[in-house]
Assembly symmetry: C2
Homo-oligomer: 494 residues x 2
């Protein structure tokens, strides 16, 4: 499917000394990751942003020490519920020496982390990087401090071995990714004609492989979040006193939610499935090549049977078809003691994952029309209000894009296998946003393992992935430059 190792340009042999440097300095790299993990840069509440700023400063200092030029871009202030506002941690925009002859790669990463406390169920202290059986456990190890450091180590490797960086490097490193990257899209917009103007490729390493095989990620699902509010009486009512005589808001809501989804997982909102791009023959082939083990996934998750029978069916359902999940119902929170209340108002919450060519605004309209139509049939005197948030677009890259070819080759060089070409079922708005705003090619190049447990109490990156990932980045710089020189003759054969 790809160019074989034999046909690779001979210049890849120059990578050997780079790889050797990485092997010899792997303990230092791991130690550096330990330093970064020890900073509790949890961005979940503004009260903790001091530590986010600290790790951003460490990042900036490191880049400066390596000869990079750093700008701390202001991304405004956050409004707090109390009415005050607090300055957001800056975004780091950095660049190394720019050679107009070379391609320019912009690397995105983030150094904030999800919350973590030992008592949440961690076996180890989440802020002390701990190596066990080849795995480096700690909050942020894989999401996303490990990959960010791997990029910096890749640059360091070229410098330390006195090899010229084969591509121009820019970096955009933020500290609010885990809370939705507030301010980043505006910044991208603002820097479209400055920082981003000479960028050729944007690469993101903020996800993980799908299986035990290395991967390139070419798509993510979008997301629309819905709140279905049914409001009835002025106050909660006693179910003994009023039960049987009122249209209970909960009864209406259950009927509304039950109208969304068939038992086969099919979304029943009219018009929605018709927007989904049909599967092509070539695309189907991609899924056949993925080493996804259905039985192993069943064991890992405790899911006894998936909605689809085949590996391909399950992967497509997760990556390239829309899905609808009902997350919960608000409104029973104020109950005290035995809960025999008729809640006066309930809010059902569900989200829909979007795929090409679904548009968030159209989906919102379809969902609202559908729910209001169902509600009309209930003949209820209650008030229905459907609101929507998020509305993140799906993202899908062109696999024929040169940086995917470079990514394929780099994987082959480092791991000796072709990468799996995968999509993410979850929503990572930055990929779509970067592409939409800058018009540049975007690729996701994960180095984390499929079992890294981002956001969980077992977050880790393996030493193998961390070190081989650093080699992958080194090789990727190289392959991208090679490709850039010889364009357009070489293409990824997909």
């Amino acid at each position: 499917m790809f160019l074989s190792a034999a046909s690779r340009p001979s210049s890849t042999s120059s990578l050997d000394s780079l790889f050797q440097y990485i092997e010899e300095h792997q303990d230092e790299f791991v130690q550096k990751l330990g330093e970064w993990v020890s900073v509790q840069s949890d961005s979940s509440t503004p009260a903790l942003w001091g530590e986010v700023e600290r790790v951003l400063s460490m990042t900036a200092d490191r880049i400066t020490a390596m000869g990079g030029v750093v700008e701390r871009a202001d991304i405004g202030a956050q409004q707090l519920p109390g009415g005050q506002s607090v300055r957001r941690p800056p975004v780091i925009l950095a660049q190394f020496h720019m050679d107009p002859e070379k391609a320019t790669l912009c690397i995105y990463g983030h150094v904030d982390v999800q919350p973590a406390k030992k008592e949440d169920g961690w076996d180890t202290d989440p802020y002390t990087l701990t190596e066990l059986n080849g795995n480096l456990y700690g909050r942020g190890a894989t999401d996303n401090k490990g990959p960010v450091l791997a990029w910096l180590h890749a640059i360091e490797t070229y410098q330390a071995t006195s090899q010229e960086l084969p591509v121009n490097i820019k970096l955009i490193i933020e500290g609010l990714e885990e809370v939705g990257s507030d301010g980043l899209e505006e910044l991208t917009q603002r820097c479209k004609d400055s920082f981003f103007s000479d960028v050729d490729y944007i690469v993101i390493s903020d996800n993980v492989w799908a299986t035990r095989r290395p991967a390139l990620t070419y798509g993510t699902r979008g997301s629309s979040y819905f709140f279905v509010e049914v409001e009835g009486p002025k106050t909660d009512l006693h179910s003994g006193v009023f039960g049987g005589s009122v249209h209970e808001p909960m009864m209406d809501l259950i009927a509304l939610l039950d109208s969304l989804l068939g038992h086969t997982g099919k979304i029943l909102v009219p018009g929605l499935n018709e927007m989904v791009a049909p599967v092509t023959k070539e695309e189907r082939k991609l899924y056949e090549g993925i080493h996804f083990d259905l039985e192993e996934t069943k064991l890992e998750t405790g899911v006894q049977r998936f909605l689809q029978d085949s590996k391909e069916g399950v992967l497509m359902a997760r990556w390239r078809y829309p899905s609808l999940s009902i997350h919960g119902i608000e409104g029973a929170v104020s109950i005290q003691g035995p809960q025999t209340v008729i809640p006066k108002q309930v809010v059902g919450k569900f989200s829909i994952r979007l795929v090409p060519h679904m548009e968030p605004a159209t989906v919102e309209r379809q969902v609202k029309e559908h729910l209001h139509g169902v509600f009309a049939q209930l003949n209820s005197p209650n008030r229905l209000r459907v609101t929507s948030s998020v509305g993140a677009w799906p993202w899908l890259a062109d696999l024929k894009d040169p940086q995917y070819v470079a990514g394929c080759r780099a994987v082959e060089v480092v791991f000796g296998v072709e990468p799996e070409l995968i999509r993410e079922g979850s929503t990572i708005p930055i990929a779509h946003d970067f592409h939409k705003v800058t018009g540049k090619s975007v690729m996701m190049l994960p180095i984390g393992g499929h079992d890294d447990g981002e956001h969980s109490q077992k977050e880790k990156i393996s030493r193998y992935n961390f070190i081989q990932g650093t080699k992958l980045f080194v090789a990727y710089f190289h392959e991208l430059s090679m490709l850039h020189k010889s364009l357009p003759q070489i293409q990824c054969n997909i």
Copy 2:
């Protein structure tokens, strides 16, 4: 429908001096209620039971001072979640001088209260009885300290005016009613052949009128509470990663809950409605006579339209037909941040109010069979578990029972109108339990107004109801004795 005032035995004129005493001592009675309300006898947690014991002691001391004989009956210990146990507050069993020639009336009441804090939204301090526009606001004013004191004041009135009590009086006063009367049924069982052996009638004044008119209550609905647990994967799953490929427990639960109830409020569980006693012609007439204002209730509750169009329809739906209310869903509680999780396990909670001749065990079987049948059609690999609790029987008294005749007459004497014969839609297990265990006649004789707001942040009893209620009890003692003398000639003409 009832004997007219003209045909009443002339001896009722002896009530005048009793009524006069009550009128003249009403400020004292209100002051006493203030003292009782000031005791924060919230039984919701064992940590607060000291105050429950204090008000029980005040009650016992008062009865002793009036010449009653008091026994503090032990009702065992409560197991705490931590494994320890704590002694329950005793139940007061009391009796005044027993004359074998007289009928014996046993009065039930409770002196514990629901929780109350000023900051919950009270306009006044909940533990400072406050008179505003003829209403006495305070926690326990109507539920149930006011009525218990009214019984004691009724006895005091006979004693203070040197009139012999026309019936033998026994009292059973507890301190755990608001948390389910733990231990009371066992005590009743234990005292069936001792304390209860010579009791002719049991009277309970622990509810309120249905409208602005005085009432006798002859029935309560029972209750069965159900937990529908659907368990799927081992852990919560990310809806982005797995959405579309798994049978989500929430999706199954919504379908299960939606199968319970039609949009007209009809319960769809097969067999359930067939157990409901048919409405008789006589019964329908009772509902026509109730001064229930549908439009006023709409305004008070904010319910724009009831499921039934007529007054009779709404009242029957609330009192004499079963109802099913869905109260909430557990399982989304552990979510942090943006809630895009697929919960691994969800528990839907609903209750069914039972009426004659529904049996809790049969209802439980029908509901379980129905839900398991629906679940089988979902073809889901998840696990379903339906459990049930409460299982309180409905209660229905015979309106031809002598004490209802006495109650009717007493209402006529005091208020000059016939009482409304009402049922309660809510569940008050003691009425059924007393009848079931002792085999004695039970009546509920409310003195609280329909707008007293038991359990709410506006709990009150009006001075009018408190004082007229005391007269009602005085008259009730009298009418019961008259009736007892002349049985079986006089019957309530229903």
